[in-house]
């Protein structure tokens, strides 16, 4: 371990900050989150939805850094508000999937036997379907809206959490301290929540961070084909779908939303990698 006197979280932070790329990503992501949180302070909400035909399709200028779109709306403003939409939807979906999948995985691993078999076989079937296809199936059944998109993403992502949580708990389940807790008459709920969960937090945190990136890409992809967040809500994927129509002459509109997605996802992935190394130094290379 590290030097004496450093708490566990201090030791994790010490290892994390040695990974410069992850540290930079954390700073950039922090800025993106702040911009999304305070979007209405930074930028007049009117700019996002008000259409103005005299301003349509302007090239980038000092006034409109990224230009204006087909309806004369400022692209930068829509990107910043789009961050809000993308982050809210992906955070909700990933945490939803974490709760649903994590509970299923925990129950499967803890109780074992038939319970485990049934849960994991059902999860296998879910996993056999590509997550994007699963999400499309749910949207197809429920209709395209933001709430249904979240539901679709939870259904598509929960099995992955179930698998990660289960495989993290399996080696711990039979350890002596769990046996001791059982012998003391501790309830299942308390053993799972107090004794087992804190010990498997590492892989769960890493998985959650990495899933955020995948989720943002899927939200954008579904919105791009018109099955996700519906216009006029500013969303990066649907902005790209609009920009695509005028790509031949106004290619500058295609660049900013894609860059926004890429930078955000890149940050999540690098932070996830950094956390993986920091939380479990044994895994590194």
């Amino acid at each position: 371990m590290e030097k004496k006197g450093r708490s566990q979280s201090g030791a994790i932070w010490f290892r994390f900050q040695k990974n410069k790329l992850a540290l930079i990503s954390l700073v950039i992501l922090g800025a993106i989150v702040l911009a999304a949180l305070f979007a209405n302070v930074l930028i007049d909400p009117e700019l996002v939805t008000t259409t103005n035909s005299s301003l349509r399709l302007q090239t980038p200028s000092a006034e409109h850094w990224f230009g204006t779109d087909l309806y004369g709306r400022d692209v930068l403003a829509r990107i910043v508000y789009g961050a809000r939409v993308s982050l809210t939807v992906s955070v909700t979906a990933v945490f939803g999937a974490l709760i649903v999948g994590g509970l299923l995985g925990a129950v499967a691993a803890y109780f074992g036997g038939h319970v485990e078999n049934i849960i994991m076989r059902i999860m296998d079937i879910f996993m056999a379907i590509p997550s994007l296809v699963m999400a499309i199936a749910v949207v197809a059944a429920l209709g395209a809206s933001t709430v249904n998109l979240v539901v679709a993403l939870i259904v598509a992502r929960a099995p992955q959490f179930a698998r990660v949580v289960r495989s993290a708990i399996l080696p711990i389940r039979d350890l002596e301290y769990v046996e001791a807790a059982t012998a003391c008459g501790t309830s299942h709920r308390r053993i799972i929540l107090r004794h087992i969960l804190p010990n498997v937090l590492g892989p769960i945190i890493v998985q959650t961070t990495l899933q955020m990136g995948h989720c943002i890409i899927q939200i954008a992809g579904l919105s791009f084909v018109g099955l996700g967040i519906q216009p006029p809500t500013p969303e990066w994927g649907s902005m790209l779908s609009e920009a695509r129509e005028y790509m031949r002459r106004y290619s500058f509109l295609v660049v900013p939303p894609g860059l926004a997605i890429m930078i955000t996802v890149f940050c999540f992935n690098r932070i996830g990698d950094g956390l993986r190394d920091a939380l479990d130094p044994k895994l590194k290379n």
Binding site: R121, I122, D124, I125, F126, A128, I129, P130, S131, L132, V133, I136, A137, V138, V139, A140, A141, L142, G143, A144, V155, G213, I217, A220, G221, L222, F224, V225, G226, L227, G237, L240, R244, M247, R248, S251, V254, V255, P257, G258, I261, M262, I263, V265, F266, N269, R270, N285
Partner: protein
């Protein structure tokens, strides 16, 4: 070995049933009444009720599903609400486009990704290694459809090397395949690199070198064979994911494959088409995964011995004990 393959094929049946039931169940949650959709808004309630009875919509979900599957085995996946055509014919017409796209993407990823991964591992921390790591980090962070749009702007609209949309010639597939392969390509580089790094550090490599084998020979003859096994599995597993990813990429390049078909059918609320097409993608993906799994066991002697000659293994296990 034959017995093992047969066993795996039998195991495929519950997975196919599971996938199809899951999708059937999800699709049955849609709020609209199919009989009402077919007959239109102005049909009388009696007519709707009669059609519901005729279509078997009043039966339980399990019964409906069983009927669907028995029809599906005979090649009847229902009729599209939109075109009135048998869904199976529409799917089979469109699937070749998606299939070519996915195969092309896997090929690009394998043919380019594996050599780059090998070089990165052999020359760890060299500029090639660093560059390929940065490229793969960027590629995995990029949404595929945006990558496709950028390629289109550069190579189709500005340089005019390739056509921007359609699927009528080989040239039409170049940009879509590159686009679809972006994630898999990055994954291939990383997987090959990490498995190669592991193999290079093995004792047998040192032994071979000590015996005077040239570095290239050790890499090509010894390490590569072992390192490629997991890579092949990953490539195969990607195929199903690529079929799913094609849904978005097809609509970027207006390729008339299964992806654009699903998206249109969803927008038109054409439930029989959506159910069948999604089931088709899910089942094909599942089947390919299984085939890869079987192949893997066949290629890897360590695993093969476990299944092909169970007696030999149990004897050695006894000795070990």
């Amino acid at each position: 070995m034959f017995k093992y393959i047969l066993k795996r094929l039998v195991m495929l049946i519950p997975i196919i049933l599971g996938i199809s039931f899951l999708i059937f169940f999800v699709m049955s949650l849609s709020p609209g009444d199919p009989a009402r959709i077919i007959l239109g808004e102005y049909a009388t309630q009696e007519d709707v009720e009669a059609l519901r009875e005729e279509m078997g919509l009043n039966d339980s979900l399990i019964v409906q599903y069983a009927r669907y599957i028995f029809k599906a085995i005979r090649g009847d996946l229902g009729t599209s609400y939109q075109t009135g055509q048998p869904v199976i014919r529409e799917i089979l017409e469109r699937f070749p486009f998606t299939f070519k796209l996915a195969i092309g993407a896997v090929m690009i990823a394998v043919v380019l990704g594996i050599p780059i991964g090998i070089i990165s591992a052999v020359k760890q921390y060299s500029w090639i290694d660093n560059l390929s790591m940065v490229v793969s980090m960027i590629l995995t962070s990029m949404p595929g459809f945006w990558y496709g749009l950028m390629l289109m702007i550069i190579f189709a609209l500005n340089l005019r090397w390739f056509p921007s949309t359609g699927a009528s010639s080989f040239k039409h597939y170049v940009l879509p395949c590159i686009t679809l392969s972006c994630n898999t390509f990055a994954l291939m580089i990383r997987t090959t690199r990490s498995t190669m790094l592991e193999e290079i550090r093995q004792d047998y490599v040192r032994t071979a070198k000590a015996k005077g084998a040239r570095a290239m020979r050790v890499i090509a003859k010894h390490s590569l064979r072992n390192a490629l096994l997991p890579v092949i599995t990953v490539a195969g597993m990607q195929f199903g994911i690529l079929l799913g990813g094609a849904v978005v990429i097809e609509s970027v390049f207006s390729i008339p494959g299964l992806g654009t078909y699903v998206v249109n059918a969803v927008k038109l609320k054409d439930t029989p088409s959506v159910t069948a097409a999604i089931m088709f993608i899910g089942v094909i993906g599942g089947v390919v995964n299984l085939i890869v799994d079987v192949l893997y066991t066949y290629i890897d002697p360590r695993l093969k011995s476990r299944y092909v000659k169970p007696k030999a293994v149990s004897r050695s296990e006894k000795e070990a004990a």
